[in-house]
Amino acid sequence: MKNTDLIKLPFSKNNPILVQVLGVCSCLAVTAQLKPAVVMAISVTVVVALSNLIISLLRNTIPPRIRIIVQLVVVSTLVVLVDQVLKAYMYDVSKQLSVFVGLIITNCIVMGRLEAFAMVQKPWPSLLDGIGNGLGYSVILITLGFVRELFGSGTLWGYPVVEKLGLYSIGYENNGLMIMPPMALILVGLIIWWHRSRNKDLVEQ
């Protein structure tokens, strides 16, 4: 596989959420607003990329029977780092994300990429694969955050868009269902629907 494909493919044909169906839990939980969604997207991208790199460097020294434990140690170390950085510099967002930062450890994308890619590939492609998958995850997360915050709360990044447009005065109301996780699942479903209709080769028989 070419190095550019490692970055490009996870955006569409091998998207972690749309095609691999990994990391759906966090993408339902943190996308009610745009800001936490963006922070979460960056955090996951950093963790996937760095853990991919580190595991790939270590891959020849890890005994296969305890590889999951070793992977977990690396991932948890990175997640703790990310968590501390968030707590130091973005305390409000960190509180909003609450347990979901810690849960990046169990994010299936991280473990999935380590097992499927980093354990058998050289460091440079592994890093690219991690960045690519993190960005593929980010695209979906940010799209969901955008749509859900705009229609659910009428704001974008906290800015009251709908109010400034004057839509409330003509009878518009925010959609309460958008803020609830079930609607995020339905939105992901709709995105998958649109994505499959454009990529017929992904449709299972």
Partner: protein, 384 residues
């Protein structure tokens, strides 16, 4: 009717317009029974097809619809103190309901036709009933744009993504109501949504439904007779048990709806009500069990929603289980969760999800049962 047949023949889309085939087909078969018959396999010939049975459902809805229109006007006239005669009350309700029905049908049918065209299949008739049901189960003050959004959501997410009529596992009309309930809670519950203030606006007059009063810890102010007749505030056409019973009689007489489901829903609700009576912990639990049949959408749901043949259980044993649990859950939700004063919608949707599982278990049980019998008979024959 020759002129109509000729006209249809004349406008049949050919050549460039042949992509409109599904739309043409839908209107043609609406007016005329198709002449062509299937040549292969064995078939039972029956005058009743899906179109006819849906029409019977629509006819069964008419008593509740007409009464609901009158009740809209009646409630407004009481609340505003206006002195209207019964005809004007009905006319007021008719003018309030008409835009809701038109919006529901326009949005829903447009989406149905669009999907049918894109997928090159026939337009299905299921929406004729759904489109009328949706305006009948929402508060009269629901803004039209919210109704349109709910209809679109119900038809696309509730039905078309699964392959259209007959493939949906949730009742589309209830999906629309659930969408409104969770999206715009201020317009769907509370005591300020049930009575229209004037002819056009979405302003409402305070007036609690019996369920709302109970959820707030009060005893319902309406008498059981009022609730039976339906002269109480509530969703547009769900209040009158008598009008609903007329529709139920037609559905049962024609065999469109399953009597097993209808009976077992009431049975389940009644048993649950009696159980709560026995506990008698608070006033809601002490409420006579038959009150649950008269309040809110229980009767309407039991007759028109739970019996939807697509989303209900298919096996006869399954229908009993399905109905009993719908009734029981509805009463359970009402009594134990004041956040959801109307438990009927959620319990039907929940059991819609469970129906395939119930059927699977019933069928598996039957297979096991028969296999056992076959083995027993085989042994007997061997020994004998």
């Amino acid at each position: 009717m020759d002129w109509l047949a000729n006209w249809f023949e004349k406008i049949e889309p050919k050549g460039k317009l042949s992509w409109l085939g599904s739309t043409y087909e839908a209107f043609h078969t609406f007016a005329f029974t198709p002449k062509s018959v299937t040549r292969q396999g064995s078939h039972i010939r029956d005058a009743v097809d899906m179109k006819r049975s849906i029409i019977i459902v629509v006819i069964a809805l008419i008593p509740a619809l007409l009464f609901g229109m009158w009740n809209i006007g009646y409630q407004t006239s009481i609340a505003t103190g206006a002195d209207w005669n019964w005809l004007y009350m009905w006319w007021f309700g008719f003018l309030r309901m008409l835009p809701m029905i038109v919006v529901s049908y326009l949005v829903g049918l447009f989406i149905e036709f669009a999907f049918a065209q894109v997928r090159h299949h026939e337009v299905n008739e299921g929406f004729l009933a759904t489109g009328l049901l949706i305006p009948m189960i929402v508060p009269v003050t629901t803004p039209l744009w919210q109704l349109a959004l709910a209809v679109a959501f119900a038809v696309i997410i509730g039905k078309e993504v699964f392959g259209g009529s007959g493939m949906n596992f949730l009742n589309p009309a209830l999906v629309a109501r659930a969408f409104l309930f969770f999206s715009y809670p201020t317009h769907m519950s509370g005591d300020k949504v049930w009575i229209a203030n004037d002819l056009w606006g979405t302003d409402a007059i305070a007036g609690a439904t019996p369920l709302g009063e109970l959820a707030a810890g009060m005893h319902p102010s309406a008498s059981a007779l009022d609730m039976l007749l339906g002269t109480i505030p509530g969703s547009t056409c769900e209040t009158s048990v008598i009008a609903i019973a007329l529709g139920a009689l037609l559905l049962l007489f024609t065999g469109i709806a399953s009597w097993r489901i209808m009976l077992s829903v009431f049975l389940g609700g009644g048993l649950m009500g009696l159980l709560f009576n026995a506990i008698g912990y608070n006033e809601y639990m002490q409420l006579p069990f038959y009150y649950h049949f008269l309040m809110g959408g229980f009767a309407f749901g039991a007759v028109f929603m739970a019996t939807d043949p697509v989303t209900a259980a298919q096996t006869n044993t399954g229908k009993w289980i399905y109905g009993l649990l719908i009734g029981a859950f509805a009463v359970l939700l009402r009594v134990c969760n004041p956040a959801y004063p109307e438990g009927m919608m959620l319990s039907i949707l929940f059991m819609n999800c469970m129906a395939p599982l119930i059927d699977h278990c019933v069928v598996a049980q039957n297979i096991k049962h028969r296999a056992k019998r076959a083995v027993a008979i085989g042994k007997e024959a061997h020994n004998g």
